[in-house]
Amino acid sequence: MASEQAQPIPTGTAVDIKLKAKSDLRGQPRPGEKIIGGILMACGAISVLTTVGIVLVLLSQTILFFQSRAWLVARQPIATETALATVTGGFSDADTEIRIAYSNESSVFQQGQHILIGDEIMTITDRPRGRLIVTRGDLGTFITPHDADAPIYPMTEVAAGIVDAMQPDDLDVTVNTGFGKLFSVGQDIKIGAEVLRIIDIDGDLLAVERGIEGSVVPHTAGSDIEAEDRPTVIEFLTSTVWQPISGQFGILPLLTATMLTSLVAMLVAVPLGMSTAIYLAEYATPRVRGIVKPILEVLAGVPTVVYGFFALTFITPALKTLFFGDAINFTNMLSAGLAMGILITPLISSMCEDAISAVPRALREASYGLGATKFETTIQIVLPAAISGISAALIIGLSRAVGETMIVALASGAGPNFTFNLLASAETMTGHIVRISGGDLSYGSIDYVSIFAVGAALFVITFTLNLLSGYIANRLRERY
């Protein structure tokens, strides 16, 4: 025993510490370390570059959009000299149906054609036998009652043209009678390949500066005048028509569709997501949570294009057979909104659950101690305490809905439509960007830059919502 304990440590295998790199121990900085630190920082900087890149790209292309211009032949409807029909009966301010006595063949009017009765211009929307359905008071005219036998003048679209031939030294353009009001001072016009700038307007006589672009050349009488159409910020924000082909860029139809689909989504997701969260945080046993949480995660992880397919092939047909019949369009905002609501429910639910779980137990116990039921505790104590987290979750959910693309691209419709009818098809901002960029766009064309203007609006909306959510989560939080 004693001899075993006294065994000497084998000297041959003694640990021989060699101080190979003495400089390490002296704490001298190694150049490699600095470089690695720099590389890692550069990785982090990529994210800042991404943000800067997004902002720069959207900003620069949006500026390009507002600087771009389209040339559209200036036209306006002109009444023909002979009336083709007369009004039978007479009609008041509110009527939109004109009964007519045809004095000529029955097919003289077309759908979409303008007609002139008295001083009022109307547009024909439908023409059943012996009648015309019209919209009243178009093109800035006033709605007035009309007598029986008032003549109806059909109107045709006439292009503005120059009346006299122009020589290179002419500084006046005479346009055909009544067309002067199509132009404005400072506007550029194009005759042939030459661009001229209007410096004064006197009735139908335009004083111009020649050769803004292209060379100064003579023009023959009757040449068409193309007017510059530059999208303006005011037009972009207030016009209710988005029709690139006719130079009309108003974001409102896209914006309302985005807002309506998001609203429907929130109407689904807020009650569903919040009460699911309350159940999971306050009532569920660990076993139920263990089953339900993964299911919600699966719902959250399903690609959005699948939800789009679901909306298109299941929700819309179901709504059609169960509720609306033929009133519902094949693509519509309601089914897109419903699918989007399902998509953001798990997001809202999980964020709300986190917020509710973060409320300290002591608050609940105090409430129970005062005799409150579980429901009363949840509604009156826990939810108010978690309100910052819950509102942050709702705003994030809204932001997600606004930016959601594939569901609306598939199920909401392809074509801007300014309507508040949820059963109608209307294109959202994201849906429009996808549809336009899906085709082959030529780089720098007005269609190309216009989607960036829409994208910029989308970015501003979602970014504001995200910032707001972060602000609320930070500032309104009760600290325990």
């Binding site: 982090g44 800042v48 970014f463």
Partner: protein, 444 residues
Amino acid sequence: MSNLVDVGVYRSGVIRRNWSALLMQRFYLGTLVIAIFILFLLLFSIINQTIGYISVTQAIKAEQLSAQPLETLTSEELANILLEQTPRLLLVMVRDNLNKVATDQFTSTALKDGINGTVPADLADLTPRDLTGDAGPAAYARLLAANLTPDQLVSLIEVNVLKVEIEQSWSLWESLTQKAEIEAEVAASETGEELRFHSWLNTKLLTQRNSQRVEEAGIGPALAGTAYLLALTVLISLPLGVGAAIYLEEYAQENFLNRLLETNIRNLAGVPSIIYGMLGLTVFVNTFSSITQGRSILSGALTLSLLILPIIITNSREALRAVPSPIREASYGLGATKWQTVSRQVLPAALPGILTGLILGVSRAIGETAPLIVIGATNSISTYPDSPFSRFAVLPFTIYNWSSQPDAAFKNASSAAIVVLLIALLSINSVAIILRNRAVSKRV
């Protein structure tokens, strides 16, 4: 006496309050059930479209071609059927299925150089131009028999000889509940329709190229494109994301710049994916088109990398933070430098967490459609991607494209493609769950 509590009133109040508490509990549970029900509805509506009856018309019945079912024949017998029925189309079939040179050079290239596969010795030095008269079709039939599987030949026969066309399709639910009506309808048709029970999810769908005709449409190149794109995305985003996470967790001081960085990453996570697509379109596709070759897989991968970077960074940071600091301190105590500590101690310990984050990012990327449409994914491509610079098709875009086709049968094909996408997604996610569980059990 009057200030004593009226026991009756008190009781009824408690009962009412308890009832409303119970009612609300049921209500909350109800919403939960609704949420789960919706998931099953979603899955049902997809599976429902994947299997079901179809009615087909065909020019010739298979029985007229051969006494035995086509599936039991050998490659030579099948090639002979093609030779008898469609001798003139054989050149095109060889070119579409076996060609490995540019299409316009195929007829002037010797077969041994132009064919992707084995070529019989007596044909090796001939070009398609040399093979005139009856020699051509016979030679092409031999080439097809030597290089294609019987399955591929059967599908060539179906397309070119039988000319199978799907006239109508029914969902699984309709097929099961309205069987009699469907049979009656098909029997009454004048075009000689034939009813078949068809699974849209089959090997043909997985291997064939996309086509205008739903009978031939497949997702082969789209699947390959998705895989290629994801691999490149991982290669780009993993080092960047982990690097940024290490910087923020281990190196960064608490200063304005780094706080900005953190806020920025949080905000980037909330930017709609389509905005990333527009960034990619301008920067990668147009500005740096000399490097990325425009609408290429590389452009798509770079864009998706930026998109999933915030996810990877956030998850990697959490994984790094979970590594106990005594590990670091012990390493420093042994004289290791910061990078040695990070690379040899902290990173291996945080690896499962980092991989989980990566997989979460990838499962986000696999379903992303909008940015790739903006970047220029296309469905008209019929070749498999062969380099990072080739144009590409991706699975979610195929689903989108097929779903918006007017032909109802494409909706069935689309649902089959969705099943493939969901299976891919689930298998990727289950890897993440396994990794997470392993990491948790190790820590304990």
